[in-house]
């Protein structure tokens, strides 16, 4: 049989066309139907994200609006007002007390909120780091009256500072120049938030 000297080239071209068509077909299947080629994300992902279970509720949820125990509601509100006046006013309750989902589920309290009294929690933000802004309070044995009371980094921060309004409490201690008595809020060790 007399075949064309270019027959293998034609077959190669057919093979390459199949590869290209195969790629285009696989591409068509692989790209999600809701793909937004302008903004490069799946539009459906927004709805899917909304369906994810909520973990954090924000300070509004701690305000007591959904809490049925009126005594707790009042305490939550008082504590939020205290935080709102102090230097920790920018923090969320859940930063220290754990996520709402671990505390409340289906409008019912399922577990006590976390109370962590370890210095480690405070030092997450207040340990000395060269990359922190100079005017951000960072633990220093020589500053803020620490030198007067011989405060070392191992001494519990909560012995003197209220976690909800640390600066105001510290100012009081400086005036008295005494080791203060810890408040009931600070000495609670039963693992439950005294709000």
């Amino acid at each position: 049989m007399n075949i064309s000297p270019r027959s293998h080239i034609y077959r190669l071209i057919v093979l390459l066309v199949i590869v290209v068509v195969g790629f285009v077909a696989v591409r068509g299947l692989a790209i999600p139907s809701s793909w937004d080629s302008e903004n490069f994300y799946r539009l459906d992902s927004l709805e899917e994200l909304k369906l994810q279970p909520m973990h954090l509720g924000g300070n509004e949820s701690c305000g007591g609006a959904s809490c049925h125990d009126q005594e707790r509601v009042a305490k939550h509100k008082t504590q939020l007002a205290t935080v709102g006046r102090g230097s920790h006013k920018g923090l969320a309750c859940e930063n220290c007390h754990g996520p709402l989902s671990a505390h409340v589920s289906d409008d019912k309290k399922v577990a006590s909120a976390v109370i962590d009294r370890e210095n480690k929690l405070c030092l997450n933000c207040h340990a000395q780091l060269v990359s922190r802004p100079k005017d951000f309070p960072q633990f220093d044995t020589e500053a803020n009256g620490h030198w007067y009371f011989d405060v070392e980094i191992t001494k519990p921060c909560l012995d003197c500072h209220s976690p909800h309004n640390p600066r105001q409490m510290a100012a009081k201690k400086d005036k008295s120049k005494k080791q203060p008595k810890a408040t009931s809020e600070q000495t609670s060790t039963n693992g439950e938030v005294q709000l």
Binding site: I3, L12, A30, S131
Partner: protein, 390 residues
Amino acid sequence: MLPNESLLNYYFPNEAEVHWSLMIVIYPYITGLVAGAFVVSSLYHVFQIKAFENISRFALVAAFCFGLFAAVPLLMHLGQPFRAFNIFFTPHTTSAMSVFGFVYSSYMILLMVELWLVYREHFIQKAKETKGMAGWVWKSLTLGVTEYTPEAARVDHKLTTFLAALGIPWACFLHGYVGFIFGSVKANAWWATPLQPIIFLMSAIVSGIAMLMLMYAFIRWRTKKPYDFPMIQKLMVFLWGFFIIDFFLEALEIIYVAYEHGHHWSVIGPLLSGPLYGTFLIVQLLVLSVIPFLILGYITIFKPWGRLLLYLANLASLMLVLQVLFMRFNVVVGGQLISKSDRGFTEFHWEFFAREGVLPAIIILSAPFVAFYVISRFVPILGDAPEAKQ
């Protein structure tokens, strides 16, 4: 000395780890070997340099084997291999990396087609000789055309020359693009230079030629076959030529920044006298560049022959292969040692067993040679009639 006369070595907390690690060092290295080996093959196919006739197929197969593993370090680095396809399916034109996927794939297709044309006669012969399953594999490689006529051979030859000619700018584009990816990072003083693509390309060609020389010498030594000294001589002349351009471009880039004494030098000066003093100035520029430069100059001018040529060529090639590996390390890791604060340097921590450690890097770097060995079991690679002039 610290950047910008800083008194404190300051770097941001997220710079404590060098994120582009050894995998990103060997990625441009292997890609460079592809481009370099291909250029050698094209020197015969396109530029008619007869001395390279016997190694043109060998260079093509080597380029193909390196190409097979060029993207593996990237997959290791990403850790999510299947996501790699996303840059093909939904490429974003603002991403240099997504376009690289297409440049790399098209280059590999070109390489495979050229290899197929070169080996078609062998495939046809094997398809006729072999029976059973193996016969079907050989037959599928012929695409069903089992006659190799002189007319078809002429068509193949023309097309091979055309593909080799097309492959040169494409190989330059491929590796120039790797340099482009680094050179276009304007926030990094050590990377951001328009010379980066050309430097990467030249060093790629140097590493490719040097690696071919080492592989050639090893194969001839293992198979106890005579060496093609005229080819080695010519290869070393080309290696010297490309290396001169590569080395002086690298040096000019540094000299330029140093003389300019601009804001880049306030970072690069301390970088070169500090973290990169050993690996860049001493090892890359002094030991692994000056010595092979002198050896290759000696080979080119005084034309030694026999054992002396072989030893000198291998020594120079080994040093240049390492020089380019050091260059990749110094560029990729060196650039990341500079803190974005421009006030200090971070440190590179060596790992051995980690995912991006030394061991995986060695395994990936060895893989092309294993692939080459496997392929060489099935197809003849070196034209086996070198003139032994010892």
